[in-house]
Amino acid sequence: MSNGDYETIVGLEIHAELSTKTKIFCSCPTEFGGEPNSHCCPVCMAMPGALPVLNEKVIEYAVKAGIAMNCEIAEISKNDRKNYFYPDLPKSYQISQYDMPLCKNGYVEIDTKEGKKKIGITRIHIEEDAGKLNHDEFGKKSFVDLNRAGVPLIEIVSEPDIRGAEEAEAYLKKVKAILEYIEVSDCKMQEGSFRADVNVSVRKKEDNKYGTRTEIKNMNSFRAIVNTISYEAQRQINVIENGGKIEQETLRWDELQGQTISMRDKEDAQDYRYFPEPDLGLIKITKEYVEKIKENLPELPESRKKRYISEYNLPEYDANIITSSKYLSNLFEGALAICKNPKSVSNWIMSDIIGALNEREIEPDKIPFSAKDLGDLIVLIDKGTISTSIAKKVLQKMFETSEKPDEIIKKYGLVQISDEDTIRKLAHKILEANPKSIIDYKSGKDHALGFLIGQAMKETKGKANPRLLDQIFKEELNK
């Protein structure tokens, strides 16, 4: 059988740190970084006798996420202990939720080649993050930093509705965008505040039973997740095609070798011995509470996308990319409010801004200028103060120095030359220096005009008004 006879089934467990000010069970700050063990207290360090008290914001944020992902919100919900030993887990149990999660039975809509598709959300529950282990590469030591221990997380568990790496990526991006829009998580993948466990299995297309799955834990980049799924699916197909059997196991992705590797110390059959957390009471959510959160929910990416297409005539592709990030979408709306030119804002974001982000390998939240700056830049183009090619240079400077566009233009003398006399003098000068181009033009070689304009641009370092140059060169050449 060939690869095409198989389908890849993916389930994802996404962990997102909530952007509350304090930890889930104590009043320590959740800020990333800081001196080791400086954001700690007896509760998150698991000193004997210390008792947890639930942060009300955690409930609010988790319910918000549940509503945004179309979940049922449980009337009564409870915390449970998940027992296992690991040095980053000071209590030797994690307070999580087992059989009564806060949210369940939701879905997220993604775009696929075949159109819209709903990916089911089994559940969203709240839990605490673990600490961080630092390893001494050469010695025999590890070090425990518990600043992150007790930072609130939501775990979003998908149904095995995802087919293949592409859908997995679309789903992850959609969930990330939703969490950013509703402002419950900053989803910084590099800092580990948005990460996923990936479950992969394959089956022949005519089968209706799922194959045995493997799990790859704690992945925090889209690229790695996509590569892992593709690799792991192919590996499983090869095993089956060669008459082998897939073992249910936990793997890790080796970025350097580009392959999944079985974890050497295979975890015991998951035997967490969950039981109700005796140090905490129950969570009761009223209908009024849910309604209030619903009313105050900000506009979600899907709705913004539809609006961009219908109100501003953006192509669906562009609308999709811009709304995939709250920061890009806010940049779009902020700049639009100033320049009233949706097509232009969209083009700038889609080409130069995304290009600059990729080149600098930074995320949209790190764009060093404001939406107003971008709006102002476009106004300067629309008014003819600068040309588009100059504007591209100004934008690069904005990325480098965060200066305002008009400051950059003044500082570097970039104002467009739109004075007819000046341009005509310039044209004369260029024509005198290039008699061959005149002959070429007259004998019907159109590229000669482009060459002359190029020379004039070079002469003025791109500042000449290109429309005027074109017009005046034509006038002069046709004399």
Binding site: T20, K21, T22, S27, C28, P29, E35, P36, N37, S38, C40, C41, P42, M45, M47, V53, L54, N55, E56, K57, I59, I76, K78, N83, F85, P87, M100, L133, N134, H135, D136, G139, K140, K141, S142, F143, V144, D145, L146, D268, D271, R273, P276, P278, L280, G281, L282, I283, K284
Partner: protein
């Protein structure tokens, strides 16, 4: 209620306990007795009684999301058998 030796070993492994042969035997018997004792609760007539979810049935005991730094940071590492650069020093785990 029968408890097998394998179950006791499994539970000991989950709790990171190394048991001797004698201990395994002893705990197997102990556990059977514990379960038998717990089973007496099954004899209680629970008809018309609502199912309880948790022993301490309180609701919505929450705190506000306000930072309160713990002052005595030094005390936090005081009981660590070893510490270095403000971190607990443990045997290498990878």
């Amino acid at each position: 209620m029968n408890v097998s030796k394998e179950e006791v070993i499994h539970m000991a492994n989950l709790a990171s306990l190394n048991l001797t042969e004698n201990e395994i035997e002893k705990y197997t018997k102990d556990m059977e007795e514990i379960i038998a004792f717990a089973n007496t609760i099954k004899n209680v007539n629970t008809e018309n009684i609502n199912e309880s979810i948790i022993a301490n049935e309180t609701y919505n005991v929450f705190r506000k999301d306000e930072v309160k730094e713990f002052e005595d940071k030094e005390a936090l590492l005081k009981n660590a058998s070893k510490n270095e650069n403000g971190m607990f020093h443990i045997p290498k785990v990878i």
